[in-house]
Subunit: 341 residues, 2 copies
DNA sequence: ACTCAGAATGTAATCGATTACAGAAGTTCT
DNA sequence: AGAACTTCTGTAATCGATTACATTCTGAGT
């Protein structure tokens, strides 16, 4: 049962040619003659030969795989992004390795090891909150392997990145609420140190100012992108003397938690207050009420990131490699927003 | 900047010993003398040497990584399982490769290639719906590398597996509804060809029979584990002449979709009908109303699967390797169930 | 001082594919 | 026919770590 591993040698012997010829036939069929090509492919079929990637990787100095780093594997927000990444990578014969920041930390492994020890040819970072020393290391990547950030990015570092139109999306959200007639609009933010939080918060404040609306400090409610954060924010809203009539949450999860908590207090959306999210996760459409939100296409984010990274891996040092991409977002109007009472 | 890659040779030269000694020092410090150990570790530090895994893998005939196969990366149900798997693997110095059945199919890659071409040392399958020819191939795994199924399993194949107490969970669900006073209980199933669907459906029917309750055929409502499936099922329920007063859904997503659709028709849960799910996904607790469900601990499922696979990888042919594990589930009572009107 | 077991280290083969270089075979042109 | 290419194929070195086997060193025992 456990056959001896088949090697190029075996195929070469069966085909009656040298290993070099077999290798060439496999990697670039056009350089060998028609007859050889047939002999070799027959031999491959009859022996059931399959290439040994490890050997190939050693010789070519490529791992033929890419590391994706996320803050938290259990967060469904990333699933579609991974799907997009993996889809492009596998079309290129590359595999996807996954690690979460938390685990890397727990297991005492240094992130950069993946790049250093030839396990991966490049890296896509989905976590803008990497510790500064880690960022430092990546920036001086010893083998100068490409690193790219997606969704989030890292302030102060200059990795190429894929981002969404966060400013534009935020302003579209505020405008939507304004158009419905809202004049008292609050914002539930993500975690304080997050780049998306900062960008969206600033865009929110800018747009509110441009519309000449009031913005008391406590209408910026600190959150953390999670369901629980949304619940907390809802309680903060409930406790306000002068309650905003609309709330723009920095993530869908926040918005869902917010609505859920309100509902436990007998407050109904959008009757008593309009609520918006950001992301358009799968559940947004199915929630009660279906959530008005800003949609980012996570599949495309993933694909774009993978494409950009692959092009840097395959053409290292190409000066005209795209350095960053900004992807569009769109306003999706559902039932969680309505004119104020 | 792009330094020549450091090899064992370099370390050996600096430390003034042979490559064999360096290698031994790294893999098993106890076999070398105290003084050598220090010389080598100094040399490693001063050169900044990092092992080349590809070379090691080639020589040891191990990939030091495991492939995880899921039906659909975008399904949040799997995230926690992945977290559990990855957590254990990385503690063992192993990496996790991920592929989705869909992509493998799209890219024309054969699954077994991963095992065949030395990219992975073993495989965890989270998709019970693999095509029979694929299963056939895996079963006759050429290099006899271990394969294991988790959550779902494959009828007719005898891979070791990690499962949950599906029967017990289902019966607990039915009993909970019965205890609340329900006598007319329906079941929304998963996709027809799924092993979990079949198991839970059978357990449901058994328990109903044991309780001597009626079960008209249309009270088994076909679904597909998804939100949309739940919506469809809700419309089926609405269309019934004699409506069941409680519905046990085969997944949380089904239950959420079910409740959402009812709500769009002005029907409220649990006032007009009690609804239960299965899984206890993160959102179950935050939904309105919070969902009564059967909890499976997905982190532990993942960890268990990884442990079992690793033990088979590290001790191949160990006859006393655990062949399968059945993990407990628990009833989580929240607000989506109540006594009938 | 001498033997000998055991510990520590070194030498060199090995894993399996790729590829630089050289040589053979086949074409075209004068 | 011979020169000058082009196209194909083969030989052998190479990627970087591991490890079987050989060798040297150490110290205990007599």
């Amino acid at each position: 049962m456990a056959l001896k591993t088949l090697t190029l040698q075996d195929v070469a012997r069966v085909a009656g040619v040298s290993t070099a010829t077999v290798s060439r036939t496999l990697s670039d069929p056009n350089v060998v003659s028609e007859s050889t090509r047939r002999k070799v492919s027959d031999a491959v079929k009859s022996t059931g030969y399959r290439i040994n990637r490890t050997a190939r990787n050693l010789r070519t100095q490529r791992a033929h795989s890419v590391l994706v780093l996320l803050p938290d594997l259990a967060n469904p927000f990333f699933s579609n992004i991974l799907e997009g990444i993996s889809s492009h990578l596998s079309s290129q014969g590359y595999s996807m390795l996954i690690a979460s920041t938390k685990q890397v930390h727990d297991s005492g492994e240094r992130l950069i090891d993946y790049l250093d020890d030839a396990r991966a040819d490049g890296m896509i970072v989905l976590d803008g909150g990497l510790a500064p020393d880690v960022v430092e290391m990546l920036a001086n990547a010893p083998q100068s392997k490409p690193v790219l950030t997606a969704c989030e990015w890292i302030d102060g570092a200059s990795f190429p990145s894929v981002r969404c139109e966060n400013r534009h999306g935020t302003r579209a959200a505020v405008n939507h609420l304004y158009d419905l007639g809202h004049r008292k609009i609050a914002h539930v933010t993500g975690p304080a140190d997050n780049v998306l939080t900062q960008t969206r918060k600033a865009a929110f404040a800018d747009e509110i100012a441009e519309l000449r609306l009031d913005l008391p400090p406590d209408w910026i409610i600190p959150g953390d992108f999670s369901l629980i954060g949304g619940c907390d924010a809802a309680r903060a809203w409930i406790g306000m003397k002068d309650r905003p009539t609309a709330v723009f949450c920095a993530s869908d999860q926040l918005a869902l938690g917010f609505i859920a908590e309100l509902s436990r207090h007998g407050i109904s959306v959008p009757r008593h207050v309009s609520v918006m999210g950001f992301d358009d996760i799968d559940l947004a459409e199915q929630f009660i009420p279906p959530l008005t939100t800003i949609r980012q296409d996570r599949l495309i984010i993933g694909e774009t990131a993978a494409k950009m990274l692959m092009s840097r891996i395959l053409n290292p040092g190409d000066p005209q490699a795209e350095n960053s991409a900004v992807l569009p977002v769109s306003l999706v109007i559902r039932d969680s927003t309505a004119p104020p009472q």
